[in-house]
Structures are given as C-alpha cells and as structure tokens.
C-alpha cells in the first residue's frame, strides 16, 4: 500500500475553504471566549459574594464536562428549548462559552497576581474601578496571563475539530470527506494533523512575540 498525498492535495481549494472556516471559528471564538472570560473574572471579583457564587456554577459545569457533550447538547438539545442554531453559529457559541470558563480562571489568576496596593494607589488618585482595571490591572497582568492564554487558544483550535460532528464545514470535516471519497483516509488524516500543527506553531510564535514586546515594556 502506497501513501498518495497527491489525491488529497488535488483538492486544495476545498481544503482551503475548510481551513478558512476553522480559522474563522478559532479566532472569533477565542476572542469571544477571552472577552467573556475576562468579564466573568471581573464580575466574580467585584460583583459581590453572591455574584461570585452564582458565576462559579457555570464555570464549574463547563470545565467539568467534555466539549463534545456540550456541543451536542447545544446543537441537538437546543431545539427542545427553542434554541435553533445553524452549525457555524452553534459551533462558534459552543466554543466561546467553553473557552470562556477557562479564560475566566486564567484572568482570575491574573487579578490575583496584581498587588492590592497597586489598585489602592489607583483608588487614591481618583481612578474609577473601570479605569483601574483598564489602566492598571489589565496591563500588569498581561505578561503573566499571556502564556496560559495562548495555551488555551491552542487547545481551542484543536477542539474546533470536534465541530465536524455537528456538521460545521470546517477543515476536519472537509478533509475527512475528501479522504473517504478518494480512498485515502490515512493520507487525509496526516495532512490534517500537519495543518493543525502548523497553526499551533503559528499561534505559539505570535504568543512569543507578544510576550517579548510586553516584557520589554515592563522591565
């Protein structure tokens, strides 16, 4: 049996379309996840004890159940409670919420890393809570949260592969289909692995550049 990548690569345009969907869902999903996660961490910190308790419930549930189960519940279970979403919005929503739970924990650690006195000093010169967060706490925690935040982005990228199971036309679904049609399943999977790996390395590379820039700023 011979490996024949040519039959896979001949479907270049299709693969690229799938790759496009993967990248779109990944980037938009990660940005949303980080934004929601930051909001959740902030509300848990400053919204009072009740808010903290209330928000800890979804965070624990989302971190305690498999992503696959979550997207199945959202996509196949959603219609039972009147949430009918197309595959791409469903995938995007699922990925954002799932990632948000983890980003909330990353930012919680970030908040904890900023000495209380730095926020007190901001308080004393008249900063509002929002200004303190934006101009003091967020930039101070940036360097610390960057590596775990990038790590989470990488995990979310790979989790997008599961969205093929709710028929999101992303890269895994596309390449698998090509592999089955061309009787070149293993070749397809190898190509898939390489493309994901490439994207992960790209993310790590960008993460390292950002880290270097930030550490230059705060040294």
């Amino acid at each position: 049996m011979n490996f024949d990548f040519a039959v896979i690569l001949a479907k270049g345009p299709q693969i690229i379309a799938g790759l496009g969907v993967t990248i779109l869902i990944w980037i938009v999903g990660t940005i949303l996840a980080a934004a929601i996660g930051f909001l959740v961490a902030t509300l848990r910190r400053y919204g009072g004890r009740l808010m903290d308790k209330l928000l800890s419930v979804p965070v624990e549930i989302l971190r305690g159940t498999p992503f696959l189960v979550q997207i199945f519940l959202l996509y196949f279970g959603g219609p039972y409670i009147g949430i009918r979403l197309d595959p791409i919005p469903a995938g995007l929503l699922g990925l954002s919420i799932y990632g948000a739970a983890y980003y909330a924990e990353i930012f919680r650690a970030g908040y904890n890393s900023v000495p209380t006195g730095h926020a007190e000093a901001a308080d004393c010169v008249g900063f509002t809570r929002l200004q303190t967060i934006l101009y003091v706490q967020l930039p101070e925690m940036a360097l610390l949260v960057l590596p775990p935040a990038n790590n989470m982005a990488v995990i979310l990228l790979k989790e997008t592969a599961l969205l093929s199971l709710i028929t999101v036309p992303e890269m895994t679904m596309t390449v698998q289909a090509i592999g089955s049609q061309q009787y070149a399943f293993v070749e397809a999977i190898v190509v898939l692995a390489l493309v994901y790996w490439g994207l992960v390395e790209l993310s790590n590379f960008l993460g390292r550049i950002a880290e270097r820039r930030l550490s230059k700023l705060s040294s």
């Binding site: 000495p115 006195g117 730095h118 007190e120 000093a121 901001a122 308080d123 004393c124 010169v125 008249g126 900063f127 509002t128 809570r129 200004q131 101009y135 003091v136 930039p139 101070e140 700023l217 705060s218 040294s219």
Partner: protein, 262 residues
C-alpha cells in the same frame, strides 16, 4: 476657629473579634505635621488608611475639611457615599504607601501624569508638563523616562510622592514611607517630606523615624493596642518624665538614631 483638615470622631475599627482601633478622637490641624508613632499592631497604619478610606471604620466618623468621608448625613440619616461622591471627598487627600505601589508598566512620568490625564482629563502634553514639574520638585527630572524597576527604592518613593502631589491635594498621608528603604535611602525621602512640611502642607505620617517625628512634627500621637494614648507637641511628648509605655517603646529605638532623645 477654622475646620480642621481631618477630624477623627469616636472611630473604632474591628476585624472580626479583634478591636484594632478603640474610640479614637483626633483633630489634624491645617498646615501642620502630625506623626503617628507606636509599636507594630498599635493600629496607627489602620487609622491612616481609614483617613484615605482604604479601610472602613466600624463606627465613628472621619471628616475631611468638615466633609464626612465615606458617608453622607442628611436629616439625621446616614447613607454611603456614591463612588463619585467618595472620589470628590478623597481628592483632597494624597496617599504615600510603604511599598511605593508605583505601576510597574509605566515610566516615572507615566505614573505621575496618569491621574492628570485619566481623572482630570488633561491633554497629554499639559499633564506631562505638570508631572515633570512635580518630578523636578522631588529631584527626579532626569529619571522621568525610567520604569520603577530601574529606580532605587528612595527614587521610587519620591516618584510616589510626586504622583500624589500632582493632583494638588491639601492633605498628604504617609504610611511608613521609609520603612521599606535601606537606611542610606531614607534621607532623600525624609528631605522631600521636610521640604513639603516647610511649604505648609498638612501632613499625617505613620513613621518609625522618631528623629523625623521629633524634628519635623508639630504633633506626635502615640498609639498602643488600638488606643490613642496621648498626643502633644514633640517637645512635651519626648520630654522627661515620659509616659512609661512610651519609655518602653523608645528603648527599642536606642540604636536607631533616637538615642539623642534619651
């Protein structure tokens, strides 16, 4: 009689079961330097932090130039100040911390100009000019572009003083401003504070620098176990015969430059 800069009225503060401040009454006159001294755990830092509303009192009230801090009294009812009302009352007070608390991602100039830009909404150029003037005042105009990590402890504390001064407070609070510094570096910070006192700034300083309290302070307050034991001019406080508790406290200072007082 003019209203005192700060008026502390029947202030008590409790952390759980522990009473850290017991019914404190104190008036800080305008234009004077008041030093709070006492052993650690005596409540002196807590009292100062209450004056900046970094801690809330359990009972009693603190007035800043006659205006209540943290609450508003109307028709005999007390309600908490809104964040913006609190900021307004607090804007008269500048705070300097033991640990400097400079923002590490901003330069010295950035630290001093930040509030002018964000709170006073000054254009960047104007804010930086004013910040520069404050840095010059504390002798650090040539360090404006340095980040806190590139400055010595004494320089960082002087930047922190400039940061507080930039907002034109009428009262400056110092929470053990030299305790985190090498003995060699305390001098430069104390000199800045002395200059400020000479200009007539109202100052309240929690300090372990007994020499500073004796030479610069107009009033020295001695706290012990949450109580304000006594307060008077340094001449009277340090003159023999001294209160036995103060005597005991000063004994621990013999090798810290206060021996001249004995």
């Amino acid at each position: 009689m003019t209203t005192p800069a700060i008026s502390v009225q029947n202030v008590s503060k409790r952390y759980g079961e522990t009473l850290v401040l017991r019914d404190i009454n104190l008036e800080i006159p305008r234009g004077e330097v008041t030093c709070l001294i006492g052993p650690s755990g005596s409540g002196k830092s807590t009292l100062l932090r209450c004056m900046a509303f970094l801690e809330e009192t359990t009972s009693g009230s603190i007035l800043i130039e006659g205006e209540p801090l943290g609450f508003i009294e109307k028709d005999g009812k007390r309600r908490a100040q809104s964040p913006s009302e609190l900021r307004a009352t607090r804007s008269k007070v500048g705070m300097v911390f033991q640990q400097f608390n400079l923002w590490p991602h901003m330069t010295a100039l950035g630290n001093v100009s930040a509030a002018l830009r964000r709170v006073r909404k000054m254009p960047r150029k104007e804010a930086e000019e004013r910040a520069m003037a404050q840095l010059t005042k504390v002798g650090l105009e040539d360090r404006a572009g340095h980040y806190p990590s590139q400055l010595s402890g004494g320089q960082q504390q002087r930047v922190a003083i400039a940061r507080a001064l930039a907002l034109d407070p009428t009262i400056m609070l110092f929470d053990e401003p030299t305790s985190a510094l090498d003995p060699e570096l305390t001098g430069e910070v104390l000199n800045v504070m002395r200059a400020l006192a000479d200009e007539g700034m109202t100052m309240v300083a929690v300090t372990h620098e007994i020499g500073f309290a004796a030479s610069v302070g107009n009033t020295v307050c001695f706290l012990d176990q949450g109580k304000l034991l006594f307060h008077d001019t340094p001449e009277k406080v340090f003159a023999a015969p001294r209160h036995p508790r103060l005597e005991q406290f000063l004994d621990t200072y013999l090798d810290r430059g206060a021996s001249m007082l004995k």
